[in-house]
Amino acid sequence: MLRRSFTAVLEKNSTFTSDFATEPYEAGWALEARWFVRILEISPGAGLTMTAQISPDGLFWCDEESGPFCLNEVGLASMPLRNFGQWLRLDARLSGKNPHVKVLIYLAVKG
């Protein structure tokens, strides 16, 4: 049997001007996951700091141990995860003066 994989697009050309979190996504069946964040637009001086979060129930969240990754320019970045339990989301903090960012966020899971 081939391994199963699935890519979810959790944000599509979404514009944010303050902190946000992605919708909860169930991935208990998967052994590994990778976040992809594509910044389409970001205001000068703004920064996007993203932390993978995990949850046993999709309701209450804690940070995954990998630590945050930061983006401050247009482009694509990714972050791998393993041993994450059941639910995944990204917690995103937006910094800078009157910041805005436009993003595509993908979650690729495999198991």
């Binding site: 199963r4 699935f6 979810a8 697009v9 959790l10 599509k12 050309n13 919708e23 909860p24 996504y25 169930e26 991935a27 208990g28 069946w29 046993p56 129930d57 999709g58 309701l59 209450f60 059941q86 595509l104």
Partner: protein, 307 residues
């Protein structure tokens, strides 16, 4: 019953996965979500490469999930067989809908029968004030669940007529009152082309031109088994038959309620749609009317035909 039919019937009854279904002569697909998503993907509105062009109502139907039905109080519930079901989840935004689609084309026109075992839930909330008057039986969560639908998108051959059959279970109205009725729609689903041509204004209900373009299916009053809490999952059987040779719905069955749909007019689009000959799409959706996420779960799906 012929010997061949009898043998087929015996084989189906002996198959522990299929014996809970009633397939027509040919099984077009059987989706066990322990095996993956089986081609059910997020519906997205039309665009030509720029996602900003997707009309507002059709840009955020959310990716389906393989769910183990895990809850904060009991842990994993699982599905009827195995662990996983297909889950559609809305955002916690009033009137937000999640829609998944599976896309095929057809070889012949005739009967198309959709069967599934489904359940539905609203996300657990922790507002103590909402528990005022809780009697220990009626779940406040039940009133936080809006509606779910099963539908299709069918286009007769090239330059043929396009239409969409649909059945909706309306659990609550926009004010949170329990309705618990099966509904059918009375207008077409506005398309991207219709909206760009100004034929219709941007729609508030994805499936209809106006939010009120719905009527009760005769015999459609049917409270379902929500079961007292946000984490108790009871699976319901559903069978929905469409006759694509007549562009009509035939019958809807949910558990012991069998509804005759043959007198219901299925709205047909004006004009022709390019690039859709023999289109045969199946859609699932769930919509919340409050700021609470709503979920639709399918244990498995079986679609069979008489061709």
């Amino acid at each position: 019953m012929s010997a061949v039919a009898s043998m087929r019937d015996s084989i189906l009854r002996a198959d522990t996965r299929l014996s809970k279904y009633h397939p027509l002569s040919r099984i077009l697909f059987y989706d066990d979500f322990d095996e993956g998503v089986n081609g059910w993907c997020e519906l997205v509105g039309n665009h030509a490469g720029n996602l900003d062009d997707i009309r507002e109502i059709a840009r955020d139907f959310r990716p389906p999930q393989l769910s183990s039905c895990t809850f904060f109080d009991i842990g994993t519930h699982g599905s009827i067989e195995g662990t996983y079901s297909l889950k559609l989840a809305t955002r916690a935004v009033p009137n937000h809908a999640a829609i998944a689609i599976k896309r095929l084309t057809y070889m012949r026109r005739g009967l198309v029968q959709f069967e599934t075992y489904f359940t539905f839930k609203a996300e657990q909330t922790f507002d103590r004030a909402a528990l005022s008057g809780w009697d220990g039986n009626k779940a406040p969560s039940e009133r936080q669940f809006g509606d779910f639908s099963f539908s299709n998108d069918i286009c007769d051959g090239e330059n043929g007529k396009r239409y969409m059959g649909l059945v909706r279970y309306l659990n609550t109205d926009v004010d949170g009152n329990l309705v618990q009725k099966w509904m059918h729609k009375t207008s077409v689903q506005p398309t991207t082309r219709m909206e760009r041509q100004g034929v219709v204004p941007p729609n508030q209900d994805f499936h209809t031109v106006n939010p009120d373009d719905w009527e009760e299916i005769p015999g459609g009053n049917q409270p379902l088994c929500f079961n007292e809490t946000a984490s108790k999952v009871n699976w319901h059987y559903l069978k929905w038959i469409m006759d694509t040779s007549r562009r009509r719905m035939v019958e809807l069955q949910c558990n012991d309620n069998v509804m005759d749909l043959s007198s219901i007019e299925v709205p047909v689009y004006d004009g022709h749609y390019h690039g859709l000959p023999n289109l045969l799409n199946f859609l699932l959706d769930v919509r919340t009317r409050t700021n609470v996420r709503n979920f639709l779960y399918l244990d498995s799906v079986l679609v069979s035909v008489d061709w």
